[in-house]
């Protein structure tokens, strides 16, 4: 009996010791806590679900190799901003203070991203934006901790305007209408296009501008009024469910058969999910379509893995979020450290490999020179949804705001009151 008890004791002690050892990783380096603030509920939910899948996929791949620098496994902390800026701020602060995250990626709507940008600035946390694209984030509200890897509103609108200007010349267009939901994003997008067209095609006259309210479901009166105006061209920026209602009602009135139509807010997500009712032959601008980059091994790998895991093609948002994690990885490798301050400095002006090719951050605004993809929505036998035909890829350099204008806008917004002087020297 005594003998058995001794064996028991050894067993118990052994078990206890092994339990103590278990929670510690072999290499002993601390994990990298990565925060994600997305809109899992509310207006942005359709896009955010896919965004998160892109992040998960990248994190999985990197963790297989041991994490950042091969020794800092990434721990993901995701929070729902409910599509509300105040909730986004609360969640971002909580991620930083409680979960000790060293970086935040994600954020969908620009109003939430702008709020999160301020939180990251306050706590000196690295912030990589991969969805939200209001220009203000890198221009009038620039923060040295925020890096942008999505073509911003200005770049997307310029790209659209470039392709419209070509048509104005070749088709002899005279007048056009615009229609946009009545909030920040459509207003700034439409204004940029209108300003650009004023410069490049002064003879092309803006006939009428429509601003339906956010949440409108009945666009018939807008559609009939546009048909009555008889414009050569309509530029629209009506995102989300509203845009879908506009498509349906425009279709039922035969609008797209009679008028050349360009949409500033039809993403690949819509092209995939609403393929049955989406009008063909209209022009749209995309941010990161996989089909334009299949010769890039990083994109090809992402598409293959994404298909295997989720049984569908990735939309615009998946590659950008996936890129965000890899941009962070490359910056950490360059810095040789996971500390946000070092990573931020390493990222300045850095060239990164992405699913959209090799891209570089511009020093003045931390904006990556990513291209915008415009083209005509058309069916393709290779895919179960329409893609872009006659694609024009407008590079970052061709479409971003000139540096002198960036500085002017910052002066106008009194950015020097919000940021320290050394942060605004480039």
């Amino acid at each position: 009996m005594m003998h058995m008890r001794g064996l028991d004791r050894v067993l118990v002690i052994g078990l206890f010791l092994s339990l103590l050892l278990l929670p510690f990783p072999v290499k002993g380096a601390e994990p990298y806590n990565l925060g994600v603030v997305l809109e899992f509920t509310g207006t942005g939910a359709l896009y955010s679900r896919h965004s998160y899948q892109g992040i998960e996929l990248a994190v999985e791949e990197i963790n297989k190799e041991g994490g950042f620098l091969g020794k800092h496994p990434i721990k993901l902390f995701s929070r729902d901003s409910q599509s509300k800026p105040d909730v986004g701020v609360r969640e971002a602060k909580d991620l930083i203070l409680r979960e000790k995250v060293k970086g935040i990626i994600g954020t969908q709507s620009s109003n939430i991203a702008l709020a999160v940008e301020e939180v990251c600035y306050e706590y000196k946390i690295i912030h990589v934006i991969a969805n939200s694209n209001a220009e203000a984030m890198t221009v009038s509200n620039y923060s040295p901790y925020t890096y942008q890897i999505v073509p911003n509103t200005y770049m997307q609108a310029t790209a659209t305007a470039v392709s419209i200007a070509k048509n104005v010349k070749s088709k002899g267009w005279k007048t056009y209408d615009t229609i946009g939901s009545n909030y920040e994003y459509p207003h700034s997008t439409i204004n940029t296009v209108v300003e650009h067209l004023k410069k490049t095609s002064p003879e092309f006259k803006l006939a009428k501008q429509y601003w339906p309210k956010l949440g409108e479901t009945e666009f018939s009166a807008y559609v009939t009024s546009i048909i009555g105006d008889k414009p050569d061209f309509v530029y629209a920026c009506v995102p989300g469910s509203d845009g879908f209602a506009l498509f349906r009602q425009g279709n039922s009135y035969g609008l797209f058969k009679n008028v050349f139509y360009a949409s500033g807010a039809t993403f690949l997500t819509e092209m995939m999910e609403m393929k049955d009712e989406l009008p063909r032959g209209i022009v749209t601008v995309l941010r990161a379509p996989f089909f334009a980059n299949m010769n890039n091994p990083m994109m090809a790998n992402l598409v293959k893995k994404y298909q295997a895991k989720f049984n569908q093609y990735p939309d615009d948002f998946v590659p950008m979020q996936y890129d965000a994690v890899y941009v962070l990885k490359q910056a950490i490798e360059k810095a040789g450290s996971i500390e946000p301050e070092n990573v931020k400095n390493a990222m300045k002006g850095m060239t990164v490999n992405t699913t959209r090719g090799s891209l570089s951050f511009r020093k003045i605004d931390n904006m990556v020179n990513c291209p915008s993809y415009t083209g005509i929505i058309a069916d393709d036998p290779k895919y179960p949804f329409p893609i872009l035909r006659d694609m024009v890829v407008v590079s970052g350099e061709e479409s971003w705001r000139p540096e002198s204008e960036v500085l002017q806008l910052r002066d106008k917004a009194d950015l020097s009151k919000k940021r320290r002087p050394e942060e605004l020297k480039f």
Binding site: L46, W211, K213, G215, T217, E218, A221, F244, D276
Partner: protein
């Protein structure tokens, strides 16, 4: 401004107006008979659209799918209405307007969250039947066939309600109970059954309207809040509690909107509220309301 443009705006305005009428007719009926302002009425309309999607998914028949789903959804909404009337609404007949609004507004939030739980946040899409997706030419303006269905449904509901209220025994009892609840009760007519009937009927109409709305836009959260505001404008303009007022008010609201879009697009939304405010100042009880009742 050409003749064609004017016809185009009239047609699109009237189709919008008929959808408003389908919702505000029930709203007004509930208000006039039961003296309850049902803030959640458009939420039942939205629920009708979601149920239409569900039934359409279950039946999955390209020709009969939608035709069967809409009435099924409407009846489901009616059944839900019956339960809610018996459990909740019955308890607030005699309460103040503020308390009623509190309860019905709570219903809006509850229904919204239940929709989120049941159907999720993604948009639900019900396709239009092929035979109704064409265009007809009305005095030189293109007009989608589907809207003819909306307009005829509204006409049918308007006539049906008129017949029910003025030509049947049930209607006479309903009208009597508007004027004297106690007297009707004293005559041995079960008043709460009349109330339940009116509530369920109004919700069936809302459910039908929601089902018909589903193929027009996508079915999405928040649609209810955006349309209920316009329905209140309709009631203020037409007169609280007047059916003919709901019809005329719907037409005024939607036509003002349609023409404002054409003439002063920036002012379109504001103009409806300006008209509403003017009516409130000049005739606080609305065009067809009676000063007595408000």
């Amino acid at each position: 401004m050409t003749g064609n443009q004017i016809i185009g705006q009239i047609l699109s305005g009237v189709s919008r107006g008929m959808m408003l009428f389908l919702i505000s007719s029930g709203l007004t009926l509930i208000f006039s008979v039961m003296n309850i302002l049902n803030f959640a009425h458009a939420s039942f309309w939205l629920l009708g659209a979601y149920f239409t999607w569900t039934f359409w998914k279950i039946l999955y028949s390209p020709i009969f799918g939608l035709w069967a789903s809409i009435p099924l959804a409407a009846l489901t909404i009616g059944a839900i209405g019956w339960i809610i009337e018996v459990i909740l609404i019955r308890r607030i007949y005699d309460r103040t307007l503020t308390e009623q609004l509190l309860l019905t507004y709570a219903l809006v939030l509850i229904i919204g969250d239940l929709i989120k739980l049941t159907w999720g946040v993604a948009d639900r899409i019900v396709p239009k039947p092929k035979m109704l997706s064409g265009l007809v030419n009305v005095f030189g303006s293109p007009f989608p066939v589907y809207y003819i269905l909306v307009i005829s449904l509204a006409g049918f509901v308007a006539l049906g309600l008129w017949w029910l209220l003025y030509k049947t025994r049930f209607g006479r009892r309903v009208k009597a109970s508007v004027f004297s609840r106690e007297m009707v009760g004293a005559l041995g007519i079960p008043i709460h059954r009349i109330y339940t009937g009116v509530f369920v009927l109004s919700l069936i109409i809302a459910g039908l309207a929601g089902g018909v709305q589903a193929p027009i836009s996508s079915v999405t959260l928040g649609m209810d809040m955006s349309i209920i505001v316009e329905c209140f404008c309709v009631m203020v303009i037409g007169g609280f509690g007047s059916l003919i007022g709901a019809l005329v008010g719907s037409l005024i609201v939607s036509l003002v909107y349609a023409f404002a879009i054409m003439v002063v697009p920036k002012m379109a939304l504001v103009l409806i509220f300006i008209v509403t405010a003017i009516v409130l100042i000049i005739r606080p009880w609305g065009i067809f309301g009676t000063a007595m009742r408000t």
